[in-house]
C-alpha cells in the first residue's frame, strides 16, 4: 500500500515494520493459553466447577434442596449461599479498579456501591451467578448437578429500560441498598452536574445558531475467544491460581483480600490471553473465589471455565447522550452541553467512571476553548447484563454524541465540519488550531476523497436505489504518559549475563495488543550501547507473582511504551554499573568510561576499545549484572494528539442495508513503537467498530427479561467476508514526554468508527439514525418505508 508510515526519528528497532516476536509461536499453535496449560493430562486429579445461573431477571431463592445433587455420582463438593464460608465473603462490587492500578478492598474505586454478593440468594439479571456451585469429576456431571437442584424462587418485578427504571415506582434492582435505581453521586466523578464552566444559558440565548442532538450507544460484548477460566489448587496454606486474567497482581490482591490470606500465600500465574478488550477490567471476579473455596473443600485442583454463552459477562456501557451546541455565524462555538444516562445493568461496575471521568478528560483536552460548557450524567440500574468497559471506558459513547453535534452544527452554519472542528477544538494549554488535529483531518480528507463529498442526500444514485455518502468523526487520543501517573511504579529489570546475553524482565500479560513485541524492541533499543542482538534477549511472557516484578497491565493501550520508557532508565543504570565494575580494573574512575556498540573505552582515548562481553568473561567474577528500575510515569502535561476515522458508505434505500465502501483510520501516535502492530490495531479495531455501528447487539425478550442471543450465531461478529477496505494511517505530529513521547492507540482504533459511519449514512440519505446498531430496519424506518 502506498503512503506507508515513515518514523520521525529513525531507530534501529523501535518504530519499524517487522513481524511480532510471538508470530511463529502463535502461528504454529505453540503458545499456551491458560486453557492449554490446564488440561486433564496436566492435572489428572482435577475437578470441574459449574455455577448456577439465574433463569429470572430478578428473583430471590426462598428454598433450595440439594439432596439430588449430593447423591449424583461424581459430584465432589457443593457450596451454597447458606454455607458459612460463602456467607463470610465480604459484600463486593465489580469496580475494584479499572486495571490501571492495583487496589485493595478498602481502596476500591467504587467503594460506595458495594452491591454484589458472591453466590448470594438474589439474582438481578438472567445469567446472574447465584445460590450454588458444584465441583465434579467432569463438566458434564457438574452441569447435570445444576439441573438436579430444586429451587423455590420468589420471582420479583424487573425493569429493563433505563428511562423506565429512573421513574418513581419502578421496580428497584437493589431494594436493600436503594429505593431508586439512579446511582448516587460518586466521590470520584463528582456530582451529577460534574462540569460547569462559564454561563451556559446566557451563551445559548446569545448564540446565532443553536442545535441539538441525541445518540444512543448500546451494549456490544467484548467477544474474546479465550473464555475466561482458572485452575486453583489450595494445598496446605498455599493457594495457586493459573488463569487467563490479564491482571496477575490485582488478582492476587483480590483473592488475598477476599479470602483473608497473606499476599505471600497467593500465587497467580498468567500466561497469554486470547483477547481482552476490556472484559471485566475491574480487578475482581467471583469465579476466582468460589473456585478457590471448592479447591479448599476438595483438596484437589478445580477448574472453572466460562463457556462461550456465559462469556457474555458484561458489555460496553450503554449510554443515551443528548447534546446542545451554540455558535456564532463565523463558526465560533460559544456553548456546549452534554447530558448522559448510562445503563449500568444489574451491578454498578465502573458506570460513573465511564459517564464522568471520560467526558471530563475530553473537556480538558478537546473542549478547552469552548467558553461555556456543562456536562451532567446519571447512572441507572436495570435488570440486565452488567455494563462495564469495552475497549475504552467512555470514549466511544461520547464520540457518538460529539461527532454528531459537530456534524449537525456545521451543516446549520453552512461550514465544512472539518473547518468547524479545526476552528474550535484543542487542548487547554495551547492556542488554536491544534497542529495534530489539522494534520489528522486534512490527511483523512485527502485519503477518503473528501472534495467529492456532496450535500446530504444529493449524491449520485447507483442501481436506482443505492446512495453514497461520506462522513468522519474525530476524538482526542488518550493514554499519553502523563495520563498514566495513577499507575504508580512501572518495574523492569535487565540481567546482563557475562556472555552478553540478557534476561529481560518486563512483566505484562500479553493479550494480543503486542506489548511484548514493543518491550522486546524497546529492550534492544535501550541496550544498543551493548550491541545486543534479538537472539541475545530472553523474555518470558508468563507473569508469575511468585517471582515476577509488578505486572504492567495491558489496559489503556499504553504498555507499548510505558515499560520501554522505564527500560531507558534501566539501561543507563546498567551502563553505570558496568563502568563501576570496570573502572578500578582499568585504573580509571567509572565516569571516565563509556560504552558504545558493545565496546567499553576510556573517553579520553576512544580508539582503544574492549568488547564488553569478552571483558566480562575474562576479567570478572562472571556474576550477572542486574539493573532494576521503579519508574513512575512522567507527570509532564504534554497534551494529547488527535485521531479520526473517515468513512464512505453506500446505503440501499430499498433494503436498508449499509455497505461500508472504505474506512480511513488515522492516529497521531507521538511515536510509533511497532508499525506493523499499530496498523494491525487500526485495521483490527474495525471489526468491533463496524460491529458496534452495524451488526452487534444483545437482544432481550422484553416480556421475560431474557437475553436472546448470547452466542455467536445470533450475535453477529464480522468475518473476513464482511470486512471492508481499510486504510490505516500512522502519524507522528504531537510528542509526549520521555524518550519516545508515545501514547496508546489500541482502544481508540474504533472510537470514531460508529459516528463516522453514521455521519456517512446521513450524508448518503439525508436522514439521521440516532441509535446503534444501524440495522436495515432502522434505515427503512428513518426513510419512512416501514
Amino acid at each position: 500500500m502506498s503512503n506507508s508510515f515513515k518514523p520521525r526519528v529513525p531507530r534501529k528497532y523501535v518504530g519499524g515494520y517487522r513481524p511480532r516476536i510471538d508470530g511463529l509461536d502463535k502461528a504454529s499453535g505453540k503458545v499456551k493459553f491458560a486453557d492449554d496449560l490446564t488440561t486433564k493430562l496436566s492435572f489428572p486429579d482435577m475437578l470441574y466447577a459449574r455455577v448456577l445461573k439465574s433463569p429470572y431477571p430478578h428473583a430471590r431463592i426462598k428454598h433450595m434442596d440439594t439432596e439430588a445433587v449430593e447423591k449424583l455420582e461424581g459430584v465432589r463438593a457443593i457450596l451454597t449461599y447458606q454455607d458459612p464460608e460463602v456467607k463470610k465473603l465480604k459484600v463486593t462490587n465489580a469496580g475494584w479498579t479499572d486495571g490501571v492500578d492495583i487496589l485493595s478492598y478498602e481502596r476500591m474505586m467504587w467503594y460506595p456501591m458495594r452491591d454484589r454478593r458472591v453466590i448470594g440468594d438474589c439474582a438481578r439479571w438472567v445469567g446472574d451467578e447465584v445460590g450454588l456451585v458444584v465441583a465434579a469429576d467432569t463438566e458434564a456431571i457438574a452441569e447435570e448437578a445444576l439441573r438436579l437442584v430444586k429451587i423455590e424462587w420468589e420471582v420479583l418485578p424487573f425493569v429493563l429500560d433505563p428511562i423506565e427504571a429512573m421513574k418513581e415506582g419502578a421496580p428497584s434492582v437493589h431494594p436493600e441498598l436503594r429505593e431508586t435505581n439512579v446511582l448516587p453521586e460518586d466521590p470520584v466523578g463528582g456530582p451529577d452536574v460534574f462540569l460547569q464552566k462559564g454561563e451556559v444559558d446566557k451563551a445559548f440565548s446569545e448564540a446565532d445558531v443553536v442545535v441539538e442532538s441525541k445518540s444512543v450507544h448500546h451494549n456490544p460484548n467484548q467477544g474474546s475467544l479465550d473464555n475466561w477460566c482458572c485452575v486453583i489448587e489450595w494445598k496446605e496454606d498455599m493457594l495457586t491460581v493459573w488463569s487467563n486474567s490479564y491482571e496477575a497482581h490485582q488478582t492476587r490482591m483480590h483473592m488475598s483480600q477476599m479470602l483473608d490470606l497473606p499476599l505471600s500465600k497467593v500465587r497467580v500465574v498468567c500466561s497469554y490471553v486470547g483477547g481482552q478488550f476490556g472484559r471485566n477490567d475491574t480487578g475482581e471476579q467471583p469465579f476466582f473465589l468460589y473456585t478457590a473455596l471448592l479447591a479448599k473443600k476438595t483438596g484437589r485442583p478445580v477448574k472453572f471455565r466460562h463457556n462461550n454463552r456465559e462469556s457474555f459477562l458484561n458489555s460496553r456501557q450503554p449510554a443515551i447522550y443528548t447534546a446542545r451546541a451554540g455558535a456564532k455565524k463565523d463558526g465560533t462555538i460559544t456553548a456546549m452541553t452534554f447530558k448522559s444516562i448510562g445503563d449500568a445493568g444489574a451491578y454498578a461496575d465502573q458506570t460513573m467512571f465511564a459517564l464522568k471521568f471520560g467526558p471530563a478528560e475530553i473537556a480538558e483536552v478537546t473542549l478547552a476553548h469552548i467558553p461555556n460548557l456543562k456536562m451532567e450524567a446519571y447512572g441507572v440500574y436495570t435488570n440486565k447484563l452488567p455494563a462495564c468497559m469495552m475497549r475504552g471506558v467512555a470514549n466511544s459513547q461520547f464520540n457518538l454524541s460529539f461527532g454528531q453535534i459537530v456534524d449537525i452544527l456545521a451543516e446549520k452554519l453552512g461550514m465544512d465540519p472539518i473547518d468547524l472542528a479545526i476552528k474550535n477544538f484543542g487542548h487547554e494549554e495551547e492556542s488554536l488550531p491544534n497542529k495534530s488535529l489539522v494534520e489528522v483531518l486534512h490527511e483523512g480528507a485527502r485519503r477518503i476523497g473528501w472534495e467529492n463529498r456532496h450535500k446530504p442526500g444529493a449524491g449520485p444514485v447507483y442501481e436506482h436505489v443505492r446512495k453514497r455518502g461520506m462522513g468522519f468523526s474525530f476524538h482526542p487520543g488518550w493514554h499519553a504518559e502523563w495520563q498514566e501517573v495513577r499507575r504508580g511504579r512501572i518495574q523492569v529489570s535487565f540481567m546482563l549475563n557475562p556472555d552478553g546475553t540478557v534476561m529481560l524482565e518486563a512483566p505484562t500479560v500479553e493479550t494480543g495488543s503486542g506489548s511484548n513485541t514493543c518491550n522486546f524492541l524497546g529492550c534492544l533499543e535501550a541496550l544498543s550501547f551493548l550491541a545486543v542482538r534479538p537472539e541475545d534477549v530472553h523474555y518470558s511472557p508468563v507473569v508469575d507473582t511468585e517471582r515476577s516484578l509488578r505486572d504492567c497491565v495491558q489496559t489503556d493501550s499504553s504498555v507499548s511504551y510505558l515499560q520501554s520508557e522505564a527500560m531507558m532508565v534501566a539501561a543507563a543504570d546498567l551502563k553505570k554499573k558496568i563502568c563501576e565494575l570496570a573502572g578500578p580494573k582499568m585504573g580509571v574512575k567509572p565516569e571516565e568510561l563509556d560504552i558504545e556498540e558493545g565496546n567499553i573505552f576510556i573517553k579520553a582515548s576512544p580508539d582503544k576499545r574492549m568488547e564488553v562481553k569478552t571483558w566480562l568473561m575474562e576479567e570478572t567474577d562472571l556474576a550477572p549484572i542486574v539493573a532494576t528500575v521503579n519508574r513512575v510515569p512522567l507527570d509532564l502535561n504534554t497534551g494529547i494528539p488527535f485521531i479520526a476515522t473517515f468513512a464512505e458508505v453506500e446505503v440501499d434505500t430499498d433494503t436498508g442495508e449499509v455497505e461500508v465502501l472504505k474506512l480511513v483510520v488515522l492516529h497521531d501516535c507521538g511515536t510509533v513503537m511497532h508499525a506493523s502492530g499499530a496498523e494491525a490495531q487500526q485495521l483490527g479495531g474495525q471489526v468491533m467498530g463496524l460491529g458496534e455501528a452495524l451488526y452487534e447487539e444483545i437482544i432481550y425478550d422484553e416480556k421475560r427479561g431474557v437475553p436472546m442471543n448470547f452466542n455467536w450465531i445470533d450475535y453477529k461478529i464480522a468475518t473476513m467476508a464482511d470486512f471492508p477496505p481499510v486504510d490505516p494511517v500512522l502519524m507522528e505530529i504531537w510528542r509526549g514526554g520521555g524518550e519516545y513521547g508515545a501514547c496508546g492507540i489500541g482502544e481508540s482504533t474504533l472510537t470514531c468508527t460508529p459516528r463516522a459511519v453514521l455521519n456517512a449514512i446521513y450524508n448518503a440519505i439525508n436522514v439521521r439514525v440516532d441509535e446503534l446498531p444501524v440495522k436495515p430496519e432502522k434505515i427503512l424506518k428513518a426513510l419512512g418505508k416501514i
Binding site: G29, N308, G684
Partner: protein
Amino acid sequence: MVAKKDTSPGTGKPGGNAVSEVIRLRVNHAWHEFVTGRDIQPSETLAYVLRERLGLTGLKVSCDEGACGACTVIMDGKAVLSCMTLAVEADGHEILTIEGLAQDDPVIAAFAEQSEPGYGTAMQCGYCTPGFVMTAKALLDANPHPTLDDIKEALSGNICRCGCYTAIAQAVLHASQKISTRGGAHE
C-alpha cells in the same frame, strides 16, 4: 452416530457393542486407539479428545458450537470443526492438527512473518490463529492459487475478534506464493 465398524481401514474390533468398541484415530500420521466407555465417552467431541486426551492444544475450543472456527482441524484433507465432530465419527479417519505441520510449513511461515506496510500482522492475541492456519492449509491444498474472493469465502467461517482479516488474507496469498516457489505444499 457413524462409527464405521467393519469397513474403516484402521478400525480395531469389528462389530462389538458400544461399551467396548475400539476407536482408532490416525492423528498426525500416528494411530491412537481408544476403548469407548473406558478411554473415551461416545459423547466426547473430537476437539475434546485431541486436546484433553492427546494434549494437542493448538486447536482451541471457544464457542463449542460451530460458530468461530477456532477448533478447525483437517480430516481426510478437508477442514472440519472438531467441536462439531464426535470422536467416534472420526474413527478410522486421518486427522491433521497444527502440531502435525512442519515447522517450516509455508502457511505457518506466512502467518508468522506477515508485517508489510498497510496490512498489519496476521494475528494479535493468536487464539484463533491455529484455526485460520488449518482452514487456509486445507484451502491451499485444494486450490494452491486462490483469488482474494476464494480466500474470503473459505475463511469466512473463522472469527478473528482482533480483526486481522486483511493481514490473514495477505498471509494466505503469501503462502500460496511460497508453495509455488517450493514446488508444492508439504506437511
